[in-house]
Subunit: 300 residues, 2 copies
């Protein structure tokens, strides 16, 4: 089933202890789209400036991603982010953020996107996310991501959004920030009580936790020694998860758990190189093979 | 099969954000013994002072733990540790350490302990651990724990010990400290290359990783919202793991993985109350029931 994603499209400069890459393809909706494209037809809604290299659009299209909802602002500059990873490759500093055209992003969902049964609001301002929700017509599953910035600055809008979505994806420190709870199991349940039917807490190198009214579980990350660039891991996780749900066309508990596992595996590929460099060079078979190893790892 | 453990026996004072307990039963060998006692006959080798309450010995004996190797030093005082857990219940500060009789601990393994086929060297000075290894006669599996203090102060002895043991258990920050590697998968493999056939890296609330020449895998912790006192979780983990191996009488790859899972589950009970208060009040059936839930959680 079709899956629409609304979120940031970016040019990133990424510094790691070993290497720096300038102006590479990034953005929450981009990582999400490419990850999800292994499973389902994806429609991307976002905004870029005139500096946006056309080959990035071509790359998305080569993955079958529909970009009718990608606005190009004449004379504008694409959202830019510069980050630096510390030696442990888990902690990072944001060195520079230039919102540019993202500052005035007013998502306009083309008719087909509005009617998409699966919808994901990738990381971005809560106000923008709410605007997208308003345009959706009968989505059967709406899931959103958020981050510390919006928890701090758009708390009210976030609380409103939580009553309008089916699922929320956020990372561990954000779940603690949102609830004031230090125990992650308690925090996850508290977020769920704020509205969504399920909550997924991403724990980076430690995997992800799932919370619904009936279930609490955790799946570990796929152990990998090759972490080149963690940027986009969380967005890829969400893309793999939502993509699998859209492919299956349902969000039953068993489907959700396998979707989370696929999210973890897609993310494990993303971090193996800069930008989308690794993710665009895998096949569905690579994912299935890693899934087999992952399930093997978790059975005893 | 019989399992001998050599390690610390302590009186702890534990401060948590909610409650403080003074002079409660603790020590690496104690947590290990009680955890392992659900699976196999355990023999404890350690040292206490004259202040050691006899009811603690009786508690160990009530779990079928043989204490012939527990030396009581006349006029001596038992090893004392005071720790304080921060709000997140993961980080802790050591407020006070009084080595007392542990400072001169010279382990004397009774004949039966020397002939034990399974041996665990719980957290303690590497020099002491080496002395215990010297006394062992044909142990089929010798596994040790260590910590940052010994990595820093007894590096040479530790490197020697790593060539004499079959397995090493340590936590994530210690694996990084020992190898200078920030990636845990790389760090774990590097520790293994220092000697032991397998290495288990404990990640606290995030579970544990296993490394052998042929396998690398990770198992998540059992998600629990009730964390009252994390003291002894790592030692209980090792006790559950080694206890199950001793019960099965082998350390085949499939046995090792299930042993690690039992370690995780025993530890999940330990943290639910202070000292051994929760651990001594469960049954093997409670462990099997949690194992069923755990395996269910990891299957999709």
């Amino acid at each position: 089933m079709p899956l629409v994603v609304v979120g940031s499209v970016a040019l990133d400069s990424v510094e790691t202890p070993k290497e720096t890459r300038e102006n590479i393809l990034g953005g929450s909706a981009v990582y999400f789209s490419v990850a999800a494209s292994y499973f389902a037809p994806v429609r991307l809604v976002g905004v870029v400036g005139e500096d946006w290299p056309p080959e990035h659009t071509q790359l998305l299209q080569s993955r079958g991603i529909n970009v009718d909802g990608l606005q190009v602002v004449k004379g504008g500059k694409t959202f830019f982010w510069r980050g630096r990873y510390l030696e442990n490759m888990n902690d990072r500093e944001t060195i520079d953020v230039q919102l540019n055209v993202l500052a005035d992003f007013d998502p306009k969902l083309p008719e087909e996107c509005r009617r998409s049964p699966f919808m994901f609001l990738a990381n971005g301002s809560t106000t923008t996310q709410l605007k997208a929700i308003e345009q959706s017509i009968g989505a059967t599953l709406t899931v959103a991501d958020t981050m510390d910035l919006w928890i701090r600055t758009e708390r009210e809008q976030l609380e409103e959004m939580l009553t309008k979505i089916d699922g929320l994806v956020l990372n561990d420190s954000e779940a603690k920030l949102l609830t004031g709870e230090e125990n992650l199991v308690v925090a996850g349940q508290k977020v769920r009580e704020m509205g969504p039917r399920f909550v997924v807490v991403k724990k980076g190198e430690h995997g992800a936790m799932f919370f619904s009214q009936y279930e609490t579980y955790v799946l570990p990350a796929y152990p990998t020694e090759k972490v080149v660039d963690p940027t986009g891991a969380g967005d890829s996780f969400a893309g793999g998860m939502m993509g699998y749900l859209a492919e299956q066309g349902n969000f039953e508990p068993t489907t959700l758990k396998k979707a989370m596992a696929f999210g973890i595996l897609v993310a494990s590929f993303t971090v193996e190189d800069f930008s989308l460099d690794r993710l665009i060079n895998i096949t569905r078979e690579d994912l299935e093979r890693r899934m087999e190893q992952y399930q093997q790892m978790l059975s005893f």
